[in-house]
């Protein structure tokens, strides 16, 4: 459902869509019981016939080349408007990370996020800021019964986290012989897998968001993997990290 709305922002299409739902609804309700089991098929996407041409108002003035160009220009830049905001707790990217991102793909199964994280100083000398670029893949979204809730049994992906501060480096500083340590203390590669629960807010209750998603993730990063690989001493609780988050679907 939600994907059809995103795809056809055209109000006309939405109206038609609603009419179509009503029709199918009444159709199934009044089907005479010819067989003892009625199979109701719920489709994720509704395929609609193309709208009838006479109902579309066409301007008598033909759009100029300039109009078309501006239209294209706006459309391209509009694609850069973030579709959601995210708040994530823990996950080796800061105590709390906040950011924005885009979902895309045929079923919006891909998501890219940019997050800034805050790390309090604890026993170190100063608090730190981190930045994360995160790529998510959500292969399935299953509606729970006929409710407004849907469940994403798997979300997975990877993220790169960098921490700001002079004490961290990407390339070893000049004081070291070349390749002395052979790793970067500034950039960490993480992989994760988790699950999500989404509440599609009914349109009459919407204020800022179209949907709210709660998620959790288990992740690990490069340095933890190389440590765990050669040591039986390290257990999953040592090298795996649990995090929680909330996503607000704005568009």
């Amino acid at each position: 459902m939600k994907w059809s709305i995103i795809k056809y922002r055209n109000y006309f299409a939405i109206a038609l869509c609603l009419i179509a739902i009503c029709h199918t609804g009444t159709a199934t309700a009044f089907t005479p019981a010819l067989q003892d089991t009625t199979v109701i098929t719920i489709h994720d996407t509704l395929y609609l016939p193309s709208p009838e041409t006479e109902s579309i108002a066409v301007s008598p003035v033909k759009p100029s080349r300039y109009d078309r160009r501006v239209h294209r220009y706006r459309r391209h830049w509009e694609a850069l408007i973030p579709t959601h905001t995210k708040l994530q707790f823990a996950g080796n990217m800061g105590l709390l990370s906040i950011g924005t991102g885009w979902d895309y793909g045929r079923r919006n199964q891909w998501e890219t996020d940019l997050l800034f994280g805050f790390l309090p100083k604890y026993d170190s000398d100063k608090a730190k800021l981190t930045f994360t670029i995160k790529q998510n893949y959500i292969p399935w979204s299953l509606q729970i019964r006929q409710s407004d809730f849907s469940f994403e049994p798997l979300s997975c992906g990877l993220y790169l986290n960098t921490v700001f501060g002079d004490e961290f480096w990407v390339h070893e500083p000049d004081r070291y012989p070349q390749g002395y340590y052979g790793f970067s203390s500034k950039v960490r590669f993480h992989i994760f897998a988790g699950q999500r629960l989404t509440y599609n807010i009914p349109s009459r209750f919407r204020v800022t968001a179209r949907a709210i998603t709660l998620f959790y993730e288990l992740s690990t990063s490069d340095l933890y993997v190389v440590s765990a690989f050669t040591n039986r001493y390290l257990k999953p609780k040592d090298y795996l990290s649990l995090s929680f988050g909330i996503k607000l679907q704005l568009l």
Partner: protein
């Protein structure tokens, strides 16, 4: 009723096990459990060795990312009861990551005898030194066992770009004098020995001069090179004993008697 209770316990367990898995950042310096280890253990060493004329201690080091081997070392050493204490020569961590220090601390806390840890060059990476300070204490420290003073130094000059005095001659000069009436002999411990690249070799000779000013200097111990050997670096009779890394499963044992000292290497 029983089911809800059982369910509640399950949820509580999940939450508790979850808490351990909540990590904010590899370099967050968020420390659970014991801190200031060296101070606690020094107190214990000084109390236990008070009045002893023979001291037997172990030097080892470079246990970074060799957790299983370090566990084996702890189990092996716990079978002995002739050791007074252990000196870890530095490089507890490989990347300076906070958890690495905590894992090593938890393993070494399994030792029956007290231990102290020196700072290694790997322990200085990222927020490593800040973690080391919180968990173990000041990188330059000293203690007295029997009537022998152990001066433990941060010699990882490569990590500091000459922005800080490494080795700290002021600290060393003070150590030659402080608590002077409580010791007759001295042992000097460090992670990186003079005349290898990571030491501040501009002052290597000066360093040697300063340590020879310590009352009754016996010998020096170092780690870092991942091999066990001994060397009279400056041909002045001061022997440096280097300890192996934990991967190679051995450690040095020193027995200081009123007349001198013995050194042996033990493989486990």
């Amino acid at each position: 009723m029983k089911q809800t209770l059982l369910g509640g316990i399950c949820v509580a367990c999940l939450l508790l096990s979850g808490c351990e898995m909540i990590d904010y950042h590899p370099y967050d310096v968020r420390i659970d459990g014991e801190t200031d280890i060296n101070a606690h253990h020094i107190e214990q060493i000084e109390r236990d060795c008070l009045g002893k004329d023979t001291i037997r201690f172990v030097t080892m080091g470079d246990s970074q990312r060799w957790y299983d081997e370090t566990v084996d070392f702890v189990n092996h050493l716990n079978q002995r009861d002739d050791i007074d204490f252990v000196i870890h020569g530095g490089d507890l961590s490989d990347f300076g990551v906070t958890d690495e220090f905590l894992w090593q601390r938890d393993i070494l806390n399994g030792l029956k005898v007290p231990y102290v840890a020196l700072i290694g060059n790997h322990d200085c990476l990222g927020t490593g030194e800040e973690t080391f300070r919180a968990v173990f204490g000041d990188p330059n420290f000293s203690f007295i066992a029997g009537r022998i003073k152990f001066v433990c130094l941060n010699t990882n000059a490569i990590e500091y770009d000459y922005s800080r005095p490494i080795p700290d001659f002021k600290f060393m000069a003070d150590e030659a004098q402080s608590r002077r009436e409580e010791f007759d002999r001295t042992v000097c411990c460090m992670h990186i020995r003079p005349l290898i690249d990571e030491f501040n070799n501009n002052v290597a000779e000066v360093f040697e001069y300063v340590i020879t000013q310590f009352p009754g200097l016996q010998f020096c111990t170092a780690a870092h090179e991942h091999q066990v050997f001994q060397l009279d670096i400056f041909d002045d009779g001061v022997i440096y004993y280097m300890s192996d890394c934990m991967k190679n499963r051995n450690y040095n044992v020193f027995t200081i008697t009123p007349n001198g000292y013995q050194h042996e290497v033990v493989y486990y």
